[in-house]
């Protein structure tokens, strides 16, 4: 059985009289430890699809099973627990809270879990060191560059040691050098910790670095 099974998932947005099928009857299986890239044009439904897998958007129909459990049927506490412990999400924009330091932003997921203990605080520091920001622990997002903010978001996604990382254009506005560094970091974590990686990119070179690539067009998976 695949770690993540997407079965006949559709997402329809209604704007006035218009119905938009952002994701159209998609089925897919993703194995544990897989390194998967999703490409496609803007508006092809990539972000919606990733959000449904991550439990931050409910599908209009269909089911998403994580290790056999239907996440669409979970209540708020169950779904929040899934997002908190199982999935690490990276958004396509800087998603750090401006009132928190880099260290606090990384620590944030544990605040919504069982609370932050000394080990969590130490882990947040270690993760910042891992992404090369050991000297920016107390810096606020406004004091960090775009690339540094991305790294903090990556460290945060790993905070609760998730089984799946979902990244929406994680290197979107970064220079080539930083982009390469981050991809190396992803691969390393995938290799060493067997974390499943699903990332969206417009960059076909990056997409090719994944073990498996899928293309989305008009909400449908066209190519694998």
């Amino acid at each position: 059985m695949a770690q993540i099974e997407i079965r006949d998932v559709s997402k329809i947005f209604t704007v006035g009289d218009l119905q938009i099928r952002a994701v159209d009857d998609v089925s897919l299986g993703i194995e544990k430890g897989e390194f998967l890239s999703i490409v496609g044009h803007s508006g092809s439904g990539k972000t919606t699809f990733l959000s449904i897998i991550g439990g931050i958007m409910k599908p209009t129909s269909g089911r998403v099973l994580f290790e056999g459990k239907d996440i669409s049927s979970l209540d708020d506490a169950g779904l929040s627990g899934y997002r908190n412990n199982t999935v690490g999400f990276m958004f396509q924009f800087a998603s750090l809270l401006p009132i928190l330091t880099a260290w606090e932003n990384v620590l944030l997921p544990c605040l919504f879990g069982s609370g932050c203990d000394v080990n969590d605080k130490k882990r947040a520091e270690e993760l910042l060191h891992l992404v090369g920001l050991g000297d920016k622990i107390n810096a606020y997002p406004s004091q960090l560059s775009g690339g540094q903010q991305r790294r903090v978001a990556i460290a945060r996604a790993f905070m609760n040691a998730p089984e799946v990382i979902l990244a929406d254009e994680p290197t979107g506005d970064l220079d080539e050098e930083t982009e390469a560094e981050i991809m190396e970091l992803f691969k390393k974590l995938n290799r060493e910790q067997n974390v499943t990686f699903i990332f969206i990119t417009h960059n076909l070179d990056l997409a090719r670095q994944a073990q498996k690539q899928i293309r989305m067009t008009h909400g449908v998976i066209k190519e694998i």
């Binding site: 959000s51 931050i56 506490a77 958004f91 809270l97 009132i99 260290w103 919504f112």
Partner: protein, 397 residues
């Protein structure tokens, strides 16, 4: 490293827009201070009337017809007034069933420089044999009856007349009186009066320095027999003696209370409108905050925050604003109620102040109202925000 908790998170959010936070705190403080002032004012007048009528020790007061208001002014508000009726009323009262005891008092108004060398006040001439109004206080202070040419002053007048540790001689209505001392505070309007024995009336009349005529009296205090209904007896008195008004204890101060009730209604409407405005203000501010922070809430929901966590963040902010605003309001309202009370005619002359428990109760009610208004105002934006799907909140849809 600084503490990282829900509380610290919420407090930092409040610091993001200090002026907005301060304005919210200020508006809640303003509302709560108005509430504290109004409640203190109403409660104070109410308690003065009750305490006074209780302490008078009389079930019914009998005054000349049309003088009920003036009598209440003297007894409840320490106002200086005079009114007289024929002393024969006392004999008529003695024939009415269910009356156990009665005693009369005559009120004389002292005018400095004309009749007396004390500031304007009420001089109460009373019969020490029949009295049951002043006696308990007099016995406590003097341990004997007042003699002719002797006087004792109410606690509030002591300072004006400079009576205290030493005895003072003063002229009252052309007669020299020895001021023997100061009565303990009774909590009634009589605290500002000077008391003399009824036997001095003859000499006072002879001096010609008063408008009082022979065989006149101002007020008669009536005690009814055990089991008799004072209201029914008062009705009987008014039916039998046409030239008097009889007021049962529970009706003493009714005129003031009626006025107060109207005032209360105005206050309640004012506070209700102010409360609604405050709720609208809190709602508007928290709606703006919710819109500003929608993407942040979307982010924290995406990384595992439950709906209850979102509520907790905002409720801490709301409670902080509500608590600080309410505490400031309570302090300001209490100070204003103490400082400004003397500027209100209704409270100008009343002697009793609110007790600590009453003040605490008013503070508690106002605190709950202040915090409650904050919570009610912020509830709808919080509900809306916490129920948004994380991705939609992030995108601002």
């Amino acid at each position: 490293m600084p503490a990282f908790t829900f509380l610290s998170f919420a407090l930092r959010n409040l610091k993001r827009k200090p002026l907005r936070t301060a304005m919210l705190v200020f508006s809640i403080a303003l509302l709560v201070s108005a509430l504290v002032f109004i409640l203190s004012f109403v409660r104070r007048v109410d308690s003065v009337i009750k305490v006074t009528s209780d302490r008078l020790g009389s079930d019914i007061i009998v005054v000349p017809a049309g003088s009920r208001g003036a009598a209440e002014d003297i007894l409840l508000e320490n106002k200086v007034k005079s009114f007289y009726m024929d002393m024969a009323v006392m004999d008529k009262l003695r024939h009415i069933k269910d009356i156990d005891a009665l005693t009369g008092q005559t009120y004389l108004v002292s005018i400095v420089g004309q009749c007396c060398d004390v500031p304007e006040t009420i001089v109460v001439a009373f019969n020490q044999d029949s009295d049951f109004i002043i006696k308990p206080w007099l016995v406590k202070k003097l341990g004997r009856k007042l003699g002719k040419g002797e006087a004792i002053v109410g606690s509030e007048s002591a300072m004006n007349i400079s009576v205290g540790l030493t005895e003072v001689d003063s002229v009252l209505f052309g007669n020299m009186f020895k001021m023997l001392g100061v009565l303990e505070k009774t909590g009634t309007g009589l605290d500002t009066a000077i008391f003399i024995d009824e036997s001095n009336i003859g000499d006072i009349l002879k001096s010609g320095k008063t408008i009082l005529k022979p065989e006149q009296i101002s007020i008669i205090f009536v005690r009814v027999k055990k089991g008799a209904d004072p209201v029914a007896v008062a009705g009987k008195i008014e039916d039998s003696i046409i030239e008097v008004d009889a007021v049962a204890r529970k009706d003493i101060g009714r005129n003031i209370l009626d006025t107060l009730r109207d005032l209360n209604r105005i206050f309640i409407v004012t506070v209700a409108i102010a409360s609604m405005l405050s709720i609208a203000l809190v709602w508007a501010v928290f709606s703006a905050i919710a819109n500003e922070r929608a993407w942040e809430i979307g982010v924290i929901r995406a990384i595992g925050a439950r709906q209850s966590h979102v509520s907790r963040f905002f409720l801490i902010e709301v409670l902080f604003i509500g608590c600080i605003g309410s505490i400031l309001g309570i302090l300001a309202g209490t100070a204003v109620s103490i400082l400004l009370a003397k500027h209100f005619m209704l409270l100008k002359n009343v002697t009793a102040d609110l007790g600590m428990i009453e003040r605490l109760l008013i503070a508690l009610i106002s605190f709950v109202a202040g915090v409650g208004i904050c919570i009610i105002g912020a509830l709808s934006p919080i509900q809306r925000l916490k129920k948004m799907e994380p991705l939609l909140a992030i995108k601002g849809d």
